[in-house]
């Protein structure tokens, strides 16, 4: 039996109980209107579909979640950010631009794994150190005479080198939601995790809060992969000595020191264009917009045709002028 807190309009917490367990959903009785509501097993907070009363599964949330970061933007502010982004982009279908209203945005708390880890890498590379020599060469001067001149030539002194690198990584985020792939969630970052607060039902009431659908093992593998890539970039950019390098190889071991599961605020909007669904996301803290923006293929084709036409027209004009001035 799962206790379910229904946060009424007066903010009073009431409890209901699970009536039955279904294969895909949990059934809860809404204490506000008495209706039986089917709830996705990966959702900790939702609303009653009959009376819109907020429903929070406190036990389930407490079992999985460590903290959450609250929304800093209202849906109106997020809508403005989204509209700005769509205005900046080219060839966005008019229907999508018009549909980017705050009412089309759905706020949701998305679960993320937060890793504090130490990464240690072994690397090898060729290190290039510039040096300069003066060489003498012969050339022809303006009077047609052969003259001898000198110039400075840059050479590179290459040396093999291997070594180690280490770094403590704080607050590395990995999406814990299968619905929000890692590459999409990376575009939403950063989040100010110092504002995270311990999970409390009243902080998520009325907003969908998802529970993790990505396993610890998968998240750990993703964190290792991402930190290995970051380590490689840091080794290349911040550690290797000399003026240039080539052939960098690195291997990284990651030791996780702390792992938390935190809910982060995200606005989502889904648009349909040409029978395809596009999802745009807005960071509920910073207003950063992520996601694939749909493009109007007809408008792109027309633009390309217009560009080709202009080039052809310019060519014709040049040909006409040249042929009538006797240059040809």
């Amino acid at each position: 039996m799962t206790p379910l807190a229904a946060w009424g309009q007066q903010g009073a917490a009431e409890m209901s109980v699970t009536l039955q367990a279904a294969a895909e959903t949990r059934a809860h009785r809404c204490t506000s209107c008495g209706a039986t509501v089917q709830v996705d097993p990966h959702v900790a907070s939702t609303s009653c579909r009959y009376c819109d009363a907020p429903l929070v599964d406190v036990t389930l949330a407490a079992e999985h979640l460590d903290a959450l970061v609250s929304f800093q933007l209202t849906d109106v502010q997020a809508g403005h950010k989204l509209r700005e982004r769509l205005q900046e982009a080219w060839f966005v279908p008019r229907r999508v631009r018009q549909a980017a209203a705050p009412t089309s945005l759905r706020p949701a708390f998305v679960p993320f794994y937060v890793f504090d880890a130490v990464a240690r890498s072994s690397w090898s590379a060729r290190i290039g150190i510039y040096w300069y020599r003066t060489e003498t060469y012969t050339t022809t001067d303006s009077d047609g005479r052969t003259v001898s001149r000198t110039r400075t030539v840059r050479e590179t002194d290459w040396h093999p080198l291997s070594g180690t690198h280490g770094r403590r990584w704080h607050d590395h985020l990995v999406s814990a939601s299968k619905g929000l792939p890692e590459d999409e969630s990376n575009d939403l970052e950063p989040f100010a995790l110092e504002q995270a607060r311990p999970f409390a039902a009243e902080l998520v009431a009325g907003i969908t809060a998802e529970l993790p659908t990505v396993s610890h093992d998968d998240a750990h593998a993703m964190a290792e992969h991402e930190l290995s890539e970051l380590e490689r970039k840091v080794i290349a950019g911040e550690l290797l000595p000399g003026d240039t390098h080539s052939g960098l190889h690195s291997s990284t071991e990651v030791t996780v020191e702390r792992l938390r599961l935190v809910l982060l605020p995200v606005f989502m909007a889904v648009y349909h264009h040409d029978g395809e669904a596009f999802r745009l996301l807005v960071n509920g803290q910073t207003g950063r917009v992520a996601g694939r923006i749909p493009r109007d293929k007809v408008a792109i084709a027309l633009a390309v045709a217009a560009a080709v036409g202009l080039v052809a027209l310019a060519g014709l004009l040049v040909w006409f002028l040249l042929s009538h001035t006797g240059a040809w």
Binding site: D157, G163, I235, L239, G242
Partner: protein, 270 residues
């Protein structure tokens, strides 16, 4: 403890009502007024005892006044107003595992070759000032403090004024870590004869605590201008700024110009 703040220099101290302070210890002004205490900054819970007497400190000041040929000779006789002050600082300890790579001189086409390595160092005491009285540079120049005889600091029974803390754990941790990295970089560079070095440090077991450091603060006036010195309350090291004798500077300039003129004349004759 009563918190007081100077309206002139904004220096803030905590004093025992039984041991009032008539003037600001930092600038000598009498514009001291009570102010509310800041609750959000962690105050020291211990202090280190003074080992230098007022006579020791006066002798240290006289040595300091003789330490540079640019200081005026009458500086030694300047009237020095001395006060004891517990300066809040954070003492950090921890270890660094520093991965490094750099260049050394070599018999190669470029005259250099790359090297790399990993070094470990434990830091027992890296001090970071938590107030405005002492800058990080002044604290570095004062040197370390031994912790023998450390005593619990009782805010309701302060024999010595305590400067009020302005920086907490998080802010001083970052400074301490930066200082540890600098110190380790200096050591690695010296140990391996590096001409350039790049570092990737991993800190471990970093722990800090707030402590009151025993410092004598001295204010003296020279030709109407106030000067401030700080004296290490345990070993008498003096840190501060002193006036420069314009007469000595002018004499040195004349001497150098005379020497240059003589050399030029000699060269012309030769």
């Amino acid at each position: 403890m009563q918190a007081m703040q100077c309206a002139q220099c904004a220096g803030a101290i905590g004093v025992d009502p039984g041991h009032p302070v008539p003037r600001c210890l930092f600038c000598g002004s009498d514009a001291l007024a009570p102010r509310p205490e800041l609750d959000d900054v962690e105050a020291p819970d211990a202090f280190l005892p003074f080992e230098q007497s007022m006579d020791d400190v006066r002798a240290a000041f006289r040595s300091f006044a003789r330490s540079s040929i640019w200081y005026p000779s009458d500086l030694r006789g300047a009237t020095l107003e001395l006060s004891r002050l517990l300066v809040p600082a954070w003492a950090w300890r921890g270890a660094l595992e520093t991965h490094w790579a750099g260049l050394v001189r070599a018999m190669s086409a470029s005259g250099k070759r790359p090297v790399s390595g990993c070094a470990h160092q434990h830091f027992e005491q890296v001090l970071v000032p938590a107030s405005a009285a002492l800058t990080q540079d002044e604290l570095n120049r004062l040197g370390g403090f031994h912790e023998e005889g450390e005593q619990a600091l009782q805010a309701d029974h302060l024999e010595v004024p305590l400067e009020l803390s302005e920086l907490g754990r998080a802010a001083t941790r970052a400074v301490a870590l930066r200082r540890m990295r600098e110190l380790h970089a200096e050591r690695i560079t010296a140990d391996h004869g590096l001409t350039t070095v790049r570092l990737a440090p991993v800190e471990d077991g970093l722990a800090g605590r707030s402590v009151g450091l025993p410092v004598w603060i001295g204010v003296f006036r020279y030709k109407g201008r106030p000067y401030r010195i700080l004296v290490h309350g345990q070993d008498g090291t003096v840190v501060g700024r002193a006036p420069i004798s314009l007469l000595r500077v002018a004499l040195a300039l004349v001497l150098v110009l005379g020497l240059v003129a003589a050399l030029v004349a000699f060269a012309l004759q030769a």
